[in-house]
Symmetry: C2
Subunit: 465 residues, 2 copies
């Protein structure tokens, strides 16, 4: 990223949407287990090393030219000449017993603080005091600087697949990788890629609205099988949000979900949705807030468009029903599978460009509602977004400490107070639940209930398997 570089319209829109309540920073939480030759003062020595770093590479040294006016039409990135490394890299600790609950509380607080735009908009926190000699890294970066998916990729450069490699450099002293020539890589189905697609569509297309109208019309003729935008029931998840967050995590062995998927004749993603659906149904029911109509979810998916025989993929958005109106877990997962299957079939019948147009319009109400003044006037197109993002498939180590889990910490938006993002890592699925503290109270229960929901699915699928 060049110094003094103007922001593209997507990055700019994340600044323009920033308010004290609706903060556009993303993050990640990683936990690490010590090696056999653990050093008790590992994090202290790490901070000494951090303090002695004088050279910082882009984008870590970039700050906004106009920090007092985020939506400045000539907003740009400039180098921070007074870069203060101890501001950005911090050490924290958990109160006893240092369990997942205390970790969730600390990350909730750290994620609730807004970014200081007078500095490069990122922070890394090394957290000690976890049970069993473990430690954690929480990082936070404004979406206008880099997206969460890229952030973890850059951080991962400090990691190694070799547990004996103890001298991996800190990520911010690594020079940026030269941009590789455009490759035919598979794109990951992340919200980031969707946003990029949406932005290019909104920038380029004038006929997108008409395209969507046709799709919606077609979908309506298909009757109750396809979830169409604006079908989302009113729910506590879709309100004005406050500035405080709650974060909770859950990790499952991938093979457990695969077994359920196989028994239910669905995909891994369907099981992720079914777990969330079971947890959300119980969560909202307890608060006497369960809508009569099923909750609808927007999720990014990988689609092989009909006009791309070369095998390239497209990231598209689909809407699906979480079937939260159905009490029986087996019927519920079958309804979810039916709903996602129909939605993907619909996308697969489209050209790549139509997929992009369709996805753009699905997401448009979410983006539009972030523009100050528009809030409350744009009806939610869905109740929440759930994404399932591929992560590293090999175990990673940071100077001998094994990365055990990687939990994404995403953005609750105005009108979309809950986000669930899942990252795969080796043989695990890592759920990050992030929500508004006030409109989604007791959010940490979702983590517990999702565990129960998976156990329930295992029970009912075993019966019918």
């Amino acid at each position: 990223m060049a110094v003094g570089k103007r922001l593209n319209s997507l990055d700019w829109s994340f600044l323009a949407g920033e308010t004290r309540e609706s903060m556009m920073h993303v993050g990640g939480l990683m936990t690490f287990s010590p090696p056999a030759d653990e050093q008790p003062d590992f994090l202290r020595r790490l901070m000494d090393e951090v303090r002695n770093q004088t050279k910082v590479y882009s984008p870590w040294n970039l700050k906004l030219r106009h920090p007092e006016f985020l939506a400045h039409p000539l907003q740009a990135w400039v180098e921070d000449k007074q870069f203060d490394v101890e501001y950005h890299i911090r050490r924290s600790a958990l109160p006893s017993p240092g369990d997942e609950r205390e970790l969730g509380i600390l990350v909730s607080r750290l994620h609730s603080h807004n970014i200081d735009f007078h500095r490069p908009p990122w922070e890394v926190h090394f957290i000690e005091g976890l049970e069993d000699g473990r430690f954690a890294i929480y990082f936070k970066v404004h979406h206008a600087l880099i997206d969460g998916y890229t952030g973890i990729k850059i951080l991962s450069r400090s990691f190694s697949t070799n547990p004996d490699e103890r001298d991996t450099p800190l990520f911010f002293v690594l020079p940026p990788i030269p941009r590789a020539p455009k490759q035919h890589d598979e794109q990951a189905p992340t919200l980031e890629h969707l946003w990029q697609g949406v932005q290019s569509q909104l920038d380029a297309t004038r006929g997108a609205g008409r395209a969507l109208a046709e799709v919606i019309k077609a979908a309506r003729q298909d009757k109750r099988e396809l979830v169409v935008p604006m079908q989302a029931p009113k729910s506590p998840l879709n309100q004005k949000i406050s500035r405080n967050r709650r974060f909770a995590t859950q990790q499952f062995a991938t093979e457990r979900l695969k077994a359920v998927a196989k028994a239910a004749h669905g995909t891994l993603n369907d099981v992720v949705l079914a777990i969330c659906a079971g947890a959300l149904r119980r969560f909202l029911q307890e608060q006497a807030n369960l809508p009569q109509e099923p909750l609808t979810v927007m999720l990014p998916v990988n689609i092989r468009p009909k006009d791309d025989p070369g095998g390239g993929n497209a990231v598209g958005a689909i809407l699906a029903s979480l079937a939260t109106d159905i009490a029986d877990p087996l019927t519920r997962i079958q309804m979810i599978i039916h709903s996602t299957t129909k939605a993907k079939e619909q996308l697969q019948g489209m050209s790549k460009s139509a997929i992009m147009q369709f996805s753009s319009m699905l997401m448009a109400p979410m983006l539009l509602s972030q523009i100050p003044g528009a809030a409350g006037r744009v009806r939610p197109a869905f109740n929440l977004a759930i994404s399932n993002v591929p992560g590293p498939d090999k175990a990673l180590y940071f100077r001998g400490y094994r990365l055990d889990s990687y939990y994404p910490v995403s953005i609750p938006f105005l009108g979309y107070g809950l986000n669930i993002t899942v990252v795969t890592y080796v043989d695990t699925l890592n759920f990050g639940f992030i929500g508004c503290r006030d409109t989604v109270p007791h959010l940490q229960r979702l983590a517990v209930y999702s565990r129960d929901a998976l156990e329930e699915l295992e029970r009912v699928c075993a019966i019918t398997a």
Copy 2:
């Protein structure tokens, strides 16, 4: 405080002056030593108790009626019907080694976060992980709700002079004390009392400006002996501040300062100033920022006015020189003593009402400069405020844990990036240094240098004693 009660003009002015950079909350840091029968899960059980509290008394349950428009002309306190106790009372921990440095870093961060005005504007943090089984309490309250001096008084109601009293209630479940009939109490020389005085003067008096003009004229005729407003040299302490804070602490045995005071024929307060002067001189010199002219300080003092034979006191503001232009520590403290003596003599010659008028005008530029838009156009009347506030004179215990230190955490203002407040507790003086992280970098050195400054004073005074 009645619910729905309008704010008085002083409280209102603390809201009107609030910006992201200039935050008008005050706080305190208290550290506690464990009893012989220490319980390792003391703070965890305390939080369980906190969570089970349902009834909260005024002012802890009061929030603003207009949180989105702090300077609303009809701003008022209303009851928070969704009071969320776990938001306000929190548990934190220090990273190893849990020393004063780590405690200072954590409190710096906590004090840098702005208050959520959608809730009652206060937080209490129980901090574990201090060396030797100690713990700390940091509290923070917006000055519009209660001032720091009152805050510590209310918190102290949870403390006991008896180490065996283990069931003192938590402060926020105690009903407010009915306002006692106006007594002839001595007022403590705090910034709070000064502000109250200033406010009543600015509200009531039209002739205050003329009164000050006369005082300044008289002072000028007295030549270099009296520090007059607007004499403050330019310094890095008097700039626009950023949103981040640094906090550092130092504790001294009172008898050490008393010995220096006796040897130098000054007051305890003069020694406090001399310690700050020595530390500030070295601190600014190292940064090549020491002004040629001496730094001037504003301090609240207790004065017995000439027209009050009954022995009542008045809290007045004086300006004094810190003599930071003088290299020799003995000459420096003698200059400081001379400066404060002359300033107090001047006040003692006035009536109570004149003292109030004079103090009001001394402080007016500091208050005026907080009004958005006025910043930068009002020249600082002095370089910093230093107050020495009387605290408890008997050892206090919180459920058997002994209060070892109480450090005030005050407000850096726009144009006044450093504040030093001292609280007496039993036989100690507790210094709280709070400053803007960017304009007063490496502030923690002031704590170290103040220790060295006292040792230097002890050396030079022993020579001449």
